[in-house]
């Protein structure tokens, strides 16, 4: 049976960042650096984690190999991968938008600190 885009959601923290990093072709270490940069240093991927995630995402056809050598492989998002990452973004955005007013009314100081 054909899997629907929603069937891949929700994505883990790690998977979401890896997919975001792969809007342009990158190899392993490039992905690690880009994810670290995008997450302001919060997410540093271990090689075991990244290898497992890349194998899984490739099997799910969310990413594919491009013009790499035998050892050093470059990956990029597929059309399906783009759809999945966009759908996840919309899902997260809806959560944030829908909860925004309520969270604001809680009057926690953390809101301002994080620059919202």
């Amino acid at each position: 049976m054909q899997k629907r885009v929603e069937d891949y959601l929700p994505l883990t923290h790690t998977t979401f960042y890896i997919l975001l990093a792969l809007v342009t072709p990158l190899h392993g270490y490039g992905i690690m650096q880009k994810v670290e940069e995008m997450s302001d240093g919060e997410v540093r991927l271990g090689p075991g984690t990244l290898y497992g995630a890349l194998s899984k995402l490739e099997k799910q056809q969310l990413i594919e190999k491009v013009n790499g050598g035998e050892r050093r492989k470059n990956y990029v998002l597929t059309v399906l991968g783009k759809k999945v990452v966009k759908r996840e973004y919309n899902r997260l955005k809806r959560l944030v938008v829908n909860s925004n007013a309520i969270i604001r009314n809680l009057g926690d100081g953390e809101f301002e600190q994080k620059g919202f």
Partner: protein, 173 residues
């Protein structure tokens, strides 16, 4: 100069094994190879190495697996029955652990568990026929080894499951 050291680590003691290899490197014994309870070390100058073990039995391409770890600062040392040994220097590795999130670390121990269950099943299946065909008075001798290994595998399965539980209760990403 090489030396061979006999040392027994059980499958659930991967972290102790990592620490032991590091402590050997501090004394200048650099781990090279593992063969059935024997560790081969080479004498070099003392070094501060982190050692990490990964467990994986299927990969589309072993070279690209190795290459990814090397890009992250981990030198591939050797493999034994699905266990892969990597070493790195604290200042040079991208992360001090091979796994940076809970799901993937649990995944490693699930793969170990899968292998243990498969082997346990094989031992059980292979030892059922002798129960029927072997005369009673020698059955005991014949079954001693299988029974001991079954106990060991069951213990390993319980302890790996405990490990998975511990990891899932640890706060990670």
């Amino acid at each position: 100069m090489n030396k061979r050291v006999f040392k027994l680590f059980f499958v659930w003691q991967d972290e102790s094994e990592e620490q032991w290899l590091s402590s050997m490197a501090e004394k200048g014994w650099i781990f090279k190879k593992y063969m059935l309870f024997y560790y081969i070390f080479e004498k070099k100058s003392p070094a501060n190495y982190l050692y990490k073990l990964d467990y994986r039995t299927n990969y589309s391409n072993f070279k690209s697996y190795q290459a990814l770890f090397e890009e992250a600062g981990w030198k591939y040392v050797t493999s034994y029955l699905g266990w892969h040994y990597f070493r790195g220097k604290k200042a040079e590795v991208f992360t001090e652990e091979l796994y940076s999130d809970q799901d993937s670390l649990i995944g490693k121990y699930r793969r170990v568990l899968q292998t243990l269950l498969t082997v346990l099943l094989a031992i059980l299946v292979l030892n059922i026929p002798p129960l029927f065909y072997v005369p009673k008075h020698i059955q005991w001798y014949l079954l001693l080894l299988p029974v001991l290994s079954i106990i060991l595998f069951v213990l390993a399965i319980i302890l790996i499951q405990k490990k998975i539980k511990r990891v899932s209760e640890t706060k990670m990403l």
